[in-house]
């Protein structure tokens, strides 16, 4: 396993009076795609939000590239090279596609070559360049959300359920995009419910249950072991194969 880019140790977090994370231990290897699996309510999204500094950490540490970022404010975490695509996508619907991307390029004007690469990945973004992002379809919004995360080179992407509610063809496009990002050695932590999608992309995997990581290992190991899948995910995956 490659050296870690992000390490969570004993991370605890509350939302209002509820304890959501009860000591999450998670390692995201550098340059790999790590999938975070688990049932609804297991704390996957909260884990991503806590890394981003959006949910207050009540215990444990988050270490990113050797620095303790547990108490950093969100903008500082973002500027350190972590991009976050929330489950809601967080598109600015009243802004145009262009304006969404202009904002995402925090370090100045957008790089032409990189923009061209994004247009090749997601042609609809070019087509609707000057249209309000709120008028895009769900899949196009997700494309914009991911484009926004990678409009500038980033070290680590946190992506929350990008395939949720999307048509299979669009899911394929997204998978291609992630493949390309993997080739560029971008580290990715992907929360996903779609096991086929995660199995195709994931190198390492962590499974959460009830606010803690209950299994961590390689994707190959989990993919080949039906019993383990049954045990961790409670899925009759044979039906999907």
């Amino acid at each position: 396993m490659a050296e870690p880019i992000l390490t969570l140790s004993g991370v605890k977090a509350d939302i209002d009076q509820y304890h959501i994370l009860h000591g999450v231990d998670l390692v995201v290897p550098k340059g790999e795609l790590t999938v975070l699996l688990g049932r609804n309510g297991a704390g996957k999204s909260t884990t991503l939000r806590t890394i981003m500094g959006l949910t207050t950490l009540t215990g444990g540490t988050v270490t990113y590239q050797g620095q303790d970022i547990s108490r950093w404010p969100t903008p500082k975490i973002a500027r350190a090279g972590i991009a976050f695509v929330p489950e809601s996508m967080g598109i600015f619907g009243l802004l145009t596609v262009r304006e969404n991307l202009v904002l995402a390029a925090v370090n100045g004007p957008m790089d032409e070559a990189r923009l061209q690469w994004i247009f090749d990945l997601f042609p609809p973004l070019k087509k609707f360049w000057d249209k309000p992002a709120g008028t895009l379809s769900g899949g196009q919004k997700q494309m914009l959300a991911i484009a926004r995360a990678v409009i500038e080179p980033r070290e680590l992407l946190l992506v929350d359920e990008p395939t949720k509610g999307l048509a299979p063809a669009i899911i394929n496009d997204l998978a291609d995009a992630f493949e390309q990002l993997k080739e560029q050695q971008v580290s990715i932590l992907l929360v996903e419910q779609n096991f086929n999608f995660s199995r195709r992309l994931g190198q390492s995997v962590a499974v959460m249950n009830d606010g803690a990581v209950v299994h961590a290992g390689t994707m190959t190991e989990l993919a080949e072991n039906d019993e383990l899948q049954q045990d961790l995910l409670g899925l009759g995956l044979g039906a999907h194969q």
């Binding site: 404010p73 973002a78 600015f92 904002l103 925090v106 249209k131 008028t135 926004r148």
Partner: protein
């Protein structure tokens, strides 16, 4: 009433080539451009009952009033839109600006205001406007740090604390400038009026107060400048994004609080600018003059749609115009008209004329 109220799809490219009947066009205007619909309706309805020359004078005065209202209200709508902060001390910033600018006009550069030349007068007016904006902006900076920052996210506390802050600011004005009202004479070139020559058709013989024309020009210039900033610059994109979702702005790596601080200072400076204009219009400064405007200011920003600059502009125009029209037709109803307009619009469109969608 069984007409279709569903808005037409905006992206329907075929509709442009198709000829639409006037009724359809009106319905579209009513549903998708409610501010223009209402403005047009008000202009035409008043023209129907008031004779043309009087109407023209009233309309220009109403637009001037609206321009000053816009200056006073624009800062408040932005602070509400961006951070949902209800700053009820906004009126105190209007007063503060009026006093700061009035000081320049009446005491520091009063030598330049007496000359009948516009150029000489501008030597006093421009510094007065800038000084008012500067004083209100600097006090706004301190006010945000001391008063607003501790109460983010809690409207009740914001109301209590900003009303308190407003009282303190108005008392400070009395401490600095004394408890007496201060008369401010308008610069020579701006007092008095233009007489449109009698021989001109339609508009011949009408009298236009010069100062109101200045208010219209300044109001339009600042509206144009604000639209340019909001629509064309990176800061503007950030402000619009922040109005939609603060959290996502932070996720992109921007410190929303810094942005808000900037907007608050700019909003306070605009209030100050509006204050000087209002002070010169009234020719009398009192510490409560801004507070007295707050009802109209609040009506304007609610009417326009909280957080919307365009809405604020049209809201201000509508309030300014209805005041003048109703005031002419039946003076006793003028005060009721403003609030009546707001009630009517809110029953029709609860989100305001140009709503800002918040996710």
């Amino acid at each position: 009433m069984s007409e279709e109220t569903t808005a037409m799809p905006m992206s329907d490219s075929g509709s442009e080539s198709r000829r639409r009947s006037p009724v359809e066009w009106l319905k579209d205007l009513r549903d998708n451009r409610a501010h223009l619909f209402l403005l047009g309706f008000m202009l035409l309805a008043s023209l129907a009952v008031i004779d043309f020359r009087t109407w023209l004078v009233l309309t220009i005065s109403g637009v001037a009033m609206g321009a000053m209202l816009f200056l006073m209200a624009s800062g408040m709508t932005l602070t509400f839109g961006l951070m949902s902060v209800l700053n009820l001390a906004h009126g105190a910033f209007i007063s503060l600006g009026a006093f700061a600018g009035g000081t320049v006009l009446a005491f520091w550069l009063d030598g330049f205001t007496d000359a009948p030349s516009l150029l000489t007068n501008l030597v006093a007016i421009v510094p007065a406007l800038l000084f008012a904006a500067l004083v209100a902006g600097v006090v706004g900076l301190v006010f945000e740090k001391l008063v607003i920052k501790p109460v983010y996210g809690d409207h009740l506390k914001q109301i209590l604390v900003t009303v308190g802050g407003s009282i303190i600011l108005m008392q400070l004005i009395e401490v600095i400038w004394g408890p007496n009202e201060i008369p401010v004479t308008r610069p020579e070139s701006l007092s008095g009026a233009f007489f449109v020559p009698e021989f001109l058709p339609l508009i011949g013989g009408i009298v236009l107060e010069k100062y109101r024309l200045l208010a219209v020009v300044l109001g339009l210039a600042i509206y144009a400048a604000m639209l340019w900033v909001i629509d064309r610059t990176r800061i503007g994109i950030l402000i619009r994004a922040g109005v939609e979702s603060r959290e996502m702005v932070e996720i992109q790596g921007y410190r929303i609080h810094l942005l808000f601080l900037g907007v608050f200072v700019a909003g306070s400076a605009l209030a100050g600018l509006g204050g000087v204009m209002w002070g010169m219009y009234k020719e009398l400064l009192t510490p409560h003059m801004g507070d007295e405007m707050m009802i109209s200011v609040i009506v304007v920003i609610i009417l326009g749609g909280l957080g919307s600059i365009r809405g604020c502009f049209y809201g201000a125009l509508l309030v300014g115009l209805i005041n003048l029209y109703i005031g002419f037709v039946e003076p006793r109803l003028a005060a009721v008209a403003t609030v009546g307009l707001m009630v009517g619009v809110l029953m029709w469109r609860p989100q305001g004329l140009i709503p800002v969608i918040k996710i």
